[in-house]
Subunit: 165 residues, 4 copies
């Protein structure tokens, strides 16, 4: 057997509902499948919620890719990867994931991650994303960008995109 | 006296007019002011045109921030900075510039640069950008994002944003 | 409870015995303690042996921090972090570990990792290292550099250096 | 004509003589040849002295490759490249230079730079380096590592190593 599928959940560190609820449910579903969850690792917003969900639902591994040496780490992260590369760590998040799911694209950090995923030829699933973001990323990402309405739909789409390994 | 102002010109490596013409004219104006031009450094598209313009118009320094060790370098780049960090070099481009000017946002690489500039608190001027991109970046970037219709207008806006050094 | 201790094993991708045997035994001991093993992740030399040892001995998590998008991954790596930062990924390896253990310092890549660990204020344990390397790193690393004669001694030293978390 | 040769001067940010005097003289010689000087860019130690020397002697371009967004920049740096990658910026310094000259290897940061240069297949000239460092780097770097006794000898060696461009 090979490595487990790896899903990145990205989204704002300062956002509110519904992104937070979606991230928590995605975390549950990912861990329930015994997949690996990758996130930005910080103890706030979508990152915190995703890791919390994962630890409620199973024993899938949770990895946090941190921007700075002294970033506060989500308590539900199993392994903290300390990049000390600031926002350049966003590229490492999307490169390390088989599929990236964005819980909203409400801030510039998340927008950079969606863009970097597309640029690197990776698939991105947009969940709960506003119309401006949907239109923009459909234009630049075409078939690499998919849209989901619910966490479970996002996971179903992700399943179709996973590589054989 | 201190360091000269530094302007980054970003845009697609595969684009056509008007982005190419705008980039070349911006390069001329930047070098004419004896400012430093930073770009992604490769020998194609907006990067190539911007450096070409700069060397037609003055002796401002041109710096290329390259993604890979073996990237082909624009012949009008004075100094090639070899990052070997792939698309993460986009963060270095915008962090090193006082102001970033996007000649179109037609690809995911440029979208990541605009996003990273905003995330790092930097100003971005959008020149010749489509409506989807304008709306999206206005939403996530607010006062950090400005719009210009011509290269000379972009330079006039840039002048108002330069730090005292 | 918090995150498990994280130990990085570093060493040549092309080395022979005793480095390979030491790395495999270290992998066994780390996984036997249910610690996390971090390595450069490639499918050769010390990296391969360390991950192999870990999977023989327990279910500790193994993380590989890869330099390139298309690096061949050790089959015993649970999660591959794709940095696409070339040798700059060496800084991420040592920053992410509580303690780094070098199985020989026979190549320039390993020497850079030991140096970066010291520069970042981290402890390094040298195991099976030649006299030139021992003298050099004692000079520049002082109390941050410790020397072990066997894998089990290295692990005993590592235990005294682990942070409370 | 192509790009000018690029020489990196590396060394401690906290060192004393003779490293400081050597760095200043190297800076003079590099600028006198109208070559580009690359350094770590900070306003201290070898970095500061090298840039100061360059501006005393000519109009060669000086580039500083900074680790952090808020690093204090040497006043004699023409262009500051802000990497925000911490010590990983050391890899960018050596990759961007045709030849690297170390003014002493007294600290772990410089040791990492020499190691990364060798690992990337680049030449390093050691100037005023202690015996432990000379022996160690001769072992791991072989023909990539050369030794000079004076700044002018270092520059003569560098001339023999410059690529045709």
């Amino acid at each position: 057997m090979g490595r487990a599928p790896v899903i990145a959940i990205i989204g704002s560190g300062t956002g509110g509902e519904p992104a937070i609820l979606n991230a928590r449910e995605l975390g549950r579903l990912i861990a329930g499948n015994a997949w690996v969850l990758i996130s930005g690792g910080r103890d706030s917003g979508v990152m915190k919620a995703a890791n919390q969900g994962a630890k409620e639902a199973g024993n899938g591994i949770t990895i946090g890719i941190l921007p700075e040496q002294h970033s506060a780490v989500s308590p539900n992260v199993d392994v903290a990867i300390v990049t000390d590369t600031g926002q350049a760590r966003n590229n490492i998040i999307v490169l390390s994931a088989d599929v990236t799911i964005a819980c909203g694209v409400d801030g510039a950090g998340t927008a950079s991650e969606v863009s970097l995923a597309i640029k690197n030829g990776k698939h991105v699933i947009l969940l709960g994303v506003n119309e401006e973001a949907k239109k923009f990323f459909a234009t630049i990402g075409r078939e690499k960008v998919l849209v989901a309405e619910t966490p479970s739909e996002a996971i179903e789409i992700a399943k179709t995109l996973l590589p054989k390994r």
